[in-house]
Amino acid sequence: MKLTRILIVGLLAVGLLAGCGQVPEAPVGLSQFTDSGIDPNSWARVPAGIFLTGQYDLQVDLDYEYEIMVTEVTNAQYAQFLNEALAAGVVRIAPGDTIDGYDHLKGGAIRYEGNAVFGHYEGDEYNSGRHEEKIPAGDYVLFPFEDIASRINFDGSRFTVKEYYENHPVTMVSWFGAKAYADFYGYRLPTELEWEKAARGMDDNRPYAWGDLEDKRAASFYKYGNPFQTKNGWTDTAPVGFYNGKTYGNYQTIDAKSPYGVYDMNGNVAEWVGDIWLELHDRVFKGGHKNTYAIDGRVWKRNSAPPQYVSPNVGFRCVRDI
């Protein structure tokens, strides 16, 4: 009987504890490994031609060439964009909960704390799809910089990156925020097909940019045990291009770039793509992330969320036409 009581009380206590989230501690590798040596300002050329898309290898012809960023946009790059865009009057700062055009934020996963950067979006065409939400023209949150998960600070005049995170991929950026960055510099977000081709190459049907098999030395997925995983299992972002064959302390990586020389297409952070679906307001992000299993990082897999969604697991990269 005593054992039963202890068991019940213990379970209740554990249950109550389970209800409390915790701010993750800084991982050991954060201050040790701040740069992978891969230049985040470099671009890779993807030639025109046929490639195999999707899980079942449908042949698609992208009959134009384009360039794609070799890594995801970093915090440093995004902070620079925010400073330039603020100075140019393209974006404005306002409390994050003053979002217009969307009524369903409070009960769901999208919660913004504090002030955020807002920018204008011209709106989606609304087609009365069964589950479609209206995305009308208006100002939307690009980046909730005062949220606890943000890696970029604002001191009242300038945006700066929190220590050690300069070369990490920017996260907590909405689809609007990703598009605003691309628009500002004359780039665009990749289409899903462009993204997949860049990850997969021309000739084969590999599920991962580096090849056919899941490999813990090739990407950051859930509990893969890289230097950015904390003791309780939470994984922080790794610097862009981290999996390039280098050894970091005792941690050996393999060169996990795609056949076109693009890094981080699977894992670390997922990436917004630019497609707007007919009769669906969701936007797609690809590649899985540090908080998913590798199966979610296979190149054909999709995750999606409304364009207002921000996450410590989602970033983006851009393409530019040649």
Binding site: L17, A18, G19, P24, A109, I295
Partner: protein
């Protein structure tokens, strides 16, 4: 040699032996394939299993492998359902023998060749035999429907019977079993139609991966309808069997059986109507109300019954509240079955309704993956609850007694409820914790889930080991059960009244034949 034959006869011809063997196969599959995902995969056991068994794990084929695995396990469960029905519902001995034998043969070839094809290369002969096995199992369903034909006047009830019936004597419970079997055949046919379409192009997908597609084909919708209704129908069959096991009768039986019949028909229609109408959910809700009412009536009938039976054993005519409560909790296996039906509402039905009501605030906001986790959790819990219900029932019928019964029953209840509650919290976590802050929450919930599921798996393993050791004994329980089964068959064949079947089964389980 004859002893070996006797053991084979026990395993392949008696209801208890057949169920034992089927559960053993599910246990082995759960133990081995459970290492390929979740916490065991995270700590590297997955790699060991794959290497050790030389599994062929091509990434793009994962969905196909899972579909074959689900179906292989589901067919074993269907065979168990067939055994339970032939054991509890009066029918000709020839039908019972044919159905049981064919169900066993079917699930075995489905299991061997299905897993063989999915995990060890693609020998197309294996695939053909797997499909042939599925077709045979479908034929088992047809045979069951024929055997259960409720308009057979041999099985009409006497006027004034305490069991649900029409004025003519038409047996409503038999009709309920018949309805579920026919509904299952229809739903399986729809699944086969869509399955044949996709596998013809060698494409496999998981329904939860397609939920956000704005445009779905009829076949994709058919898969969604199929998977929902098949699990629901298994739940209804199991509930009907439990009704028989508790010998449900009187007013609650008379209310429950029509409810089950209407529920099965409407629920099936609703689930499959997702193919052609957007109003499918409304029809499903209506059907679910009837089916769940049928289950509720069993609970309302069962809880006072087990309490009363215990009090009668103790000779207590006017119990205090405490005595009543202790009597209710006296037998954790019988109480557990009814409790799980109540508990299911907190974890599955209630959550489903909650999500539906707050659709605009949840699924319009959550990332697809979070919705997918919710959906996967939802049906894993429902499947696991059904498994725990069947385990409780089997433990009861296989003569788990005394202190072992108490420990088994309570650990099953505690283990499963902790695991299911934690899984429910896990799938709903986005409502109360952000992605950034969630790690401590997921760690705790995973720990609770593991505790619960490991408890259940240990119990299952202990049970199977106990019965395996027993098989090596010359005069083990198996030999007694073999004699009892022959004895029961000889009596029951001549009876057309289900109450007699229940009486005989109960008497045998209590050891009267000895």
């Amino acid at each position: 040699m004859s002893k070996f034959k006797d053991r084979l006869k026990y395993l392949f011809t008696t209801t208890k032996g057949l169920i034992l063997m089927a559960i053993a196969f599910i246990g082995i599959i759960a133990a081995v394939w459970g290492t390929l995902s979740g916490p065991l995969a995270e700590i590297g056991v997955k790699d060991i299993t794959i290497d050790l068994l030389n599994m062929d794990m091509i990434e793009k084929e994962r969905e196909g492998r899972l579909v074959m695995m689900y179906h292989s396990i589901a067919m074993i469960v269907c065979a168990i359902c067939a055994y339970l029905i032939t054991s509890h519902v009066p029918m000709k001995k020839g039908y019972k023998t044919l159905i049981n034998n064919l169900a066993t043969f079917s699930y075995m070839i489905i299991m061997v060749f299905g897993f063989g094809f999915a995990y060890w290369g693609h020998n197309w002969t294996f695939h053909a035999v797997y499909v042939a096995g599925m077709s045979l199992m479908y034929f088992v369903g047809i045979l069951l429907a024929i055997a259960l034909w409720p308009w057979n006047k041999d099985y009409y009830l006497e006027p004034g019977s305490e069991y649900s019936h029409l004025k003519s004597g038409f047996d409503m419970e038999r009709a309920a079993f018949f309805t579920v079997v026919v509904a299952t055949l229809g739903s399986a046919a729809v699944g086969a139609w869509a399955g044949a379409y996709f596998s013809n192009g060698f494409e496999a997908f998981l329904a939860e991966d397609t939920i956000r597609y704005p445009f779905k084909t009829y076949q994709m919708k058919a898969i969604v309808g199929h998977l929902h209704i098949m699990l629901a129908l298994i739940g209804i069959v199991v509930t009907l069997v439990f009704g028989r096991w508790y010998d449900m009768k009187g007013i609650w039986h008379k209310l429950s059986m029509p409810s089950m019949i209407v529920g099965s028909i409407v629920l099936t229609t609703g689930s499959l109507s997702v193919i052609w109408t957007e109003a499918a959910h409304v029809i499903v809700y209506a059907g679910a109300v009837f089916s769940m009412l049928g289950g509720l009536f069993l609970v309302i009938y069962g809880l006072p019954k087990i309490t009363r039976e215990r009090l009668d054993e103790q000779g207590i005519k006017k119990p205090t509240f405490w005595q009543g409560l202790m009597a209710l909790f006296h037998d954790p296996l019988k109480f557990g079955i009814l409790w799980q039906m109540i508990f299911m509402n907190f974890n599955v039905s209630g959550i489903g309704i909650f999500m539906a009501v707050r659709l605009e605030e949840i699924f319009r906001i959550w990332p697809h993956r979070d919705e997918r986790i919710e959906l996967s959790g939802h049906w894993h819990i429902l499947s696991a609850i059904i498994a725990v219900l069947v385990l409780s029932y089997v433990a009861d019928r296989m003569g788990v007694k005394g202190k072992v019964r108490q420990w088994t029953g309570w650990l099953l209840i505690i283990g499963s409820n902790v695991a299911f509650a934690a899984a429910t919290q896990y799938e709903m976590k986005r409502l109360y914790v952000s992605e950034f802050m969630q790690q401590s929450v997921t760690n705790t919930l995973m720990l609770l889930m593991d505790f619960g599921l490991i408890t259940i798996m240990i119990l299952l393993a202990a049970f199977l080991v106990w019965r395996l050791i027993d098989l090596f004994k010359a005069d083990g329980k198996w030999s007694v059960e073999l004699k009892e089964d022959s004895f029961a068959a000889s009596i029951i064949t001549d009876f057309k009244d289900k109450s007699m079947i229940t009486d005989v089964e109960i008497a045998i389980d209590q050891g009267v034949s000895q």
